[in-house]
Symmetry: C2
Subunit: 158 residues, 2 copies
C-alpha cells in the first residue's frame, strides 16, 4: 500500500544546515521562522492565531537513510528508532511543537524552531491543552539527561 502526500507549504528557517540547530526548538527558544502555505490553503489558517502553540508535521527531506535502530543526538547508545525523535526513520515524518507568533495571510510566524530551511510542510495542528498535555510523564532513556533539572550538554548539533 502506497500513500501519496503533497507538501502544503514550505518552512523558512534561519537554519540552513544541521550544524548549530537545536535538537528541539525549546533549547533556542527565541529564534523565529515562518511557514509559507500554498495559496489554496490560506483559509485553513483561520482561527489558528487564537492558539498559543501549534504542532508542525513535516518531511525530513534531507535524510537519505532509513534506520531501525539509531544513536540519537543526546547520547551514543543505540535505541529503537521509534524510541527516538531522529530523522532517519521510516516515512521520515518530523514533528515539532512550536510557539505561534502571528498569522498573516498565508504565513504563520513561529518560535521554538528545530527545522531546516526549505523543509516541506505536511500538516499544521493546533496544540490543545486538553488533548496534548500529559502529567506524570516518564521519558525512558531521555530522563537521565535532565535529572538534575538542567539541560543536557548535547542539545545543539555540532
Amino acid at each position: 500500500m502506497q500513500i501519496i502526500m503533497h507538501p502544503i507549504g514550505v518552512i523558512h528557517s534561519p537554519y540552513k544546515e544541521t550544524k548549530g540547530i537545536p535538537i528541539q526548538g525549546i533549547f533556542k527558544p527565541d529564534v523565529e521562522a515562518w511557514v509559507e502555505l500554498r495559496e489554496e490553503y490560506r483559509e485553513g489558517l483561520k482561527d489558528l492565531e487564537g492558539f498559543s502553540h501549534a504542532i508542525l508535521l513535516y518531511y525530513f527531506d534531507r535524510s537519505r537513510t532509513e534506520q531501525i535502530e539509531a544513536s540519537p543526538f543526546l547520547e551514543d547508545d543505540k535505541h529503537g528508532i521509534f524510541a527516538t525523535r531522529g530523522p532517519h526513520r521510516p516515512n521520515h515524518i518530523g514533528l515539532s511543537v512550536v510557539k505561534i507568533c502571528s498569522v498573516d495571510g498565508n504565513r504563520l510566524y513561529f518560535k521554538e524552531v528545530d527545522i531546516l530551511d526549505k523543509t516541506p510542510l505536511l500538516d499544521i495542528k493546533p496544540y490543545v491543552k486538553y488533548f496534548d498535555v500529559r502529567q506524570d510523564v516518564v521519558s525512558g532513556w531521555i530522563d537521565k539527561h535532565f535529572e538534575d533539572g538542567n539541560n543536557p550538554e548535547r542539545t545543539i548539533v555540532r
Copy 2:
C-alpha cells in the same frame, strides 16, 4: 512534489465505526488497542517501553474529502482546518497521544484510543516531557468548551 509513504503497521482497535468513538482518547481512557508493526520494524520498538506515552501518526484512510474549513465535533461553527484536529484535512495525517501499556515483539499495546480499527500507521514517536509538554497553553476556540473545569458534551461521536 509527491511524497510516497508506506504504512509501518496497522492499528487494531475496538472502534469499528465512528459512532461511539471519543474525539480524543482521554475521554474514554480505559479502552485498549494495539499496534501490529510490520515484522521488519520490530527492533524499532526497542526501549519504547521505558516511556509512559507515545505519539502515534496514522493515515485517516476512511476520509474521502479534503476541506479547508470545517465544523469540528465540538461545535457547529466553522474553523480553518489547521485550527482543528478533524480528519478531512490535506494529507489526512492523524495524531494521537496514547498511554503505553506494554510492548511484546512487534506489538505495542496502548490506552487512550481515538483511532478506528484497521487504520494504517505511519510513525511512532516517544512522548517526551521536555519536548512536548507546554505550560501556559491557550487553546483558541476550544477553551470555552472546558472553561468550567468539566468536559464538554460532545466528546463522543454520535
